[in-house]
Symmetry: C2
């Protein structure tokens, strides 16, 4: 439970930066080397690597080094947890209507 | 453009904390006074108010003071922007298949 919450903390924190979001947008298309990922940004390589580390710690990307090239790719479940959390909170009006429906027709729950 | 990106930064940052997410989960049910919101947390009132300020700065909640009671409610578009951003990035495999389809059947685009 706590672990899931910590993971959400890290994921939302990782997404709270436009450079990191741009990296995710790039990786949605295909895996990329660190230097390919760095190219669009006027940023030092240590800064790029630090951003990638935040994404990797959050479980949003994975990376693998072959020879001198580190290739970064989106993790399989990259955005499932934060997407699911947001989805659960959305449409509160609809959920309140559901509850109202349950109150108006309480027998329905007994049938399940 | 920049403004939208800044707004996403603030929203994701606001969600990167389990106390603030718990407040949102509470507010999905109904508006609440600040003291109602504070009740589940072993936290000083200034800390609670600070968390609410982060949510309000991000446009996730709004609040109104009537007499001595400040009531907090979820903003209408509370989670639309971060939800939409995540949705755009998801299912990269499906999007790559779409692109592949466009390459294999280039005439389809001309017909539109």
């Amino acid at each position: 439970m706590l672990k899931y919450s910590d993971r959400l903390d890290r994921m939302f924190h990782a997404l709270a930066d436009s450079t990191r979001r741009a990296m995710v947008e790039r990786l949605v298309r295909s895996p990329a080397s660190v230097s390919d990922l760095a190219r669009p940004f006027a940023m030092s390589m240590p800064a790029i690597v630090q951003h990638l580390r935040v994404l990797e710690d959050a479980g949003i990307v994975t990376s693998e080094k072959v020879g001198r090239v580190r290739t970064v790719q989106l993790a399989a479940d990259a955005l499932t947890a934060p997407g699911a959390w947001i989805e659960e909170q959305r449409l509160p009006a609809e959920r309140q209507l559901d509850r109202l429906g349950a109150v108006l027709a309480p027998d329905t729950t007994k049938e399940n």
